[in-house]
Symmetry: C2
Subunit: 450 residues, 2 copies
Amino acid sequence: MTGAEPDLLIEDLHSSLVDPALETMNFLNEVAARFPGAVSFAAGRPHEEFYDLDAIPRHLRTFQRYLEREKGVDPGEVRRTVLQYGRTKGVIHELLARNLRLDEGIDADPQSIVVTVGCQEAMFLVLRALCAHEDDIVLAVAPRYVGLTGAARLLDREVWPVRETASGVDLGHLVEQIAAARAASKRPRACYLIPDFANPSGLRLDLGTRKALLAIAERHDLLLLEDNPYGLFQADDEPRPPTLKALDTGRRVIYLGSLAKTCFPGARVGYLVADQRVATATSATVLLADEISKLKSMLTINTSPLTQAIVAGRLLEHGCSLVAATRAENAVYRRNMRLLREGLERRFPRSGPLKVTWNAPAGGFFVVLTVPFAADDDALEYSARHHGVLWTPMTHFYGAGEGGGTHQMRLSVSVMTPEQIDAGLERLLSLVTDRAGQKAGSVSDAQGKG
Amino acid sequence: MTGAEPDLLIEDLHSSLVDPALETMNFLNEVAARFPGAVSFAAGRPHEEFYDLDAIPRHLRTFQRYLEREKGVDPGEVRRTVLQYGRTKGVIHELLARNLRLDEGIDADPQSIVVTVGCQEAMFLVLRALCAHEDDIVLAVAPRYVGLTGAARLLDREVWPVRETASGVDLGHLVEQIAAARAASKRPRACYLIPDFANPSGLRLDLGTRKALLAIAERHDLLLLEDNPYGLFQADDEPRPPTLKALDTGRRVIYLGSLAKTCFPGARVGYLVADQRVATATSATVLLADEISKLKSMLTINTSPLTQAIVAGRLLEHGCSLVAATRAENAVYRRNMRLLREGLERRFPRSGPLKVTWNAPAGGFFVVLTVPFAADDDALEYSARHHGVLWTPMTHFYGAGEGGGTHQMRLSVSVMTPEQIDAGLERLLSLVTDRAGQKAGSVSDAQGKG
């Protein structure tokens, strides 16, 4: 759309609209749309092979039966529960609490759960509640999910980065940043992280780091925002490490849950657990969840009880275990991560000439590849145009001016077939060879001229 | 919950949490919960008698068939459309555009439509886009829907009231408020109103007022936020007046649509039409809808395509006409409004001793009753306790310090049966008699003492 007389100027609209964080998804989608024939390691969405529209009515009936038989609700009230306006905090809180106990060992009071429009709304609501004043900031492990940055930008709040290490978080840097923020008269309210198979880095915190984080949160009066969309997708059958929330004896953790990857994204059902106690003016103490619920009532009123019902039906059909519900998907993720690792090892042997390395996440959707050239937006476009392969520049997961990720790509295999992984890796190899050659070439050109 | 050691202080959380606008719904729900036996004129939710859970799978199949047959989408893509992440602006925009043309005579480019999590999210997004700076304010016809006030409060933005008249809006006051805001270095960005059967006042703008509003918007460089949840529920078969958007030749109107009352609230599907052209830094002109879509991607990612599909199925089953889809509901609303009016006339005759008056909306859910005593929160509690009848104090629909509505109740009949309307009016009569008597009594007491 061009040439038409404008009605508004972009500079009169909210400044987040020109923030790189909000452009990221648009840019990546646009590149993908321009090269539809490219093999994509960029898509981070869940595997969709097992999606079944015919299961939707069954899930709905399962939830109906649960309300009628287990909860003794009469049919008229069941109809109202699913189709009318309803409880702001949601209608499946008891089932989510059951799931958290079963799959995560988290003992959550159902009243401390707020069902949200995906995890994104949960993030926004928590930031809105906590970042009350202009000088309130949120810390976040960098690289980080762009949705966190975006939610903070909608609220005109700063996100301060905390460095990542091989074990997940640079705890020393976290403490430094808390001190630096306070020295700058800022109030660090919380630190956001994905402790299990992070987006984008794939990293998982070890148990020691988890405990140390909780101790730091306690000592420095900070909350931890634990986002856990991928935790169930561990690549082996070893016991999973406990979530921060399962270890949280001091109510330092707000847990952000997603059902997008364990059920399906189209339900737009996520939730948060906020069991913190808030002292009010009347000296009564209320749950943070109830305060957040008030904010939600002015943002989206309530989360669709119809999609809550459908997701709950799926939960109930698996005894409230999402581990059980996602066995087929998890088998695909395990296979794909193995194929990716094996394919990388075959094409980029450590002893070979191409200086390509990668990390080895123990699960999840993502692997980070480090390459011997700038893996920026131009390189992505070049890659799509000349080699037919898409990936995500890691630079998009750092804030403006933070640096980092300049020679790194995020590879995601969550929606790929074995054939696509193989073809994609062949194309990546040709891209790396091309770029490494170009670099070598330009060096020898320079030598020739010199 | 009391007595527990607090983790947080309310004054460290966002200030909207202590705003009366956010307490309103809690207070009203709490009174309703404490007096479950009371007859309620308070509930503003849509009629639910015709809700049918068995229709949900059919609606879903209808949308599937539409995608497959009319749009030529293959079954795998249909599954992805409904269950995966998807288009931020939504997947039913073409059907909504068809509906707007059919039912409202609005010629909307489908690309200018953003499907939202109910109309509440649409309001929030529009305010976020427009109220960029601290000094940006929104005007709103008072009394007003509390959700508008709440959304503005989440963003720390002021709402300035514009007085209501018998024809809907005091246009002189609107111009005064624009001037006053600018004189105070504020930037009035838009004026929010419900032109048809407003919540809470029931008023509808006449055609002249609509045209004058558009002229003022043009002259004073203001946008109009037209919220239209009740417009279809006219109490007679006369032609409905055109919406502001249908009259809008200068792209002055952002239209806010709700499907909560015409389909069902549990879908949480609303939308906005924002066809304004935004000049960007690169001199390209983009649709405001696309800018708002970027904000949405950081708030809720997208609106559940599953509930969009279900709502669209219902639309398709009625040839995309919501007038056709809501004939049964509309018949109930018409009957109930008639019964309310007749019942009021019988119990509070104009020549009688009880000085009770009411307005006569031409449709919608709401009637405003003016009574000879303060119809405040205490009166509501007294009414519930001693007379078993609930209603909504009109004071809740005015901002703090605005005054107004002190002797007024909002009566809603949308979910009532004829028997409940009759019983409720009997109880209202006994409340008014009691209160009028008390007043008389206290006067004679005072005389007796004097």
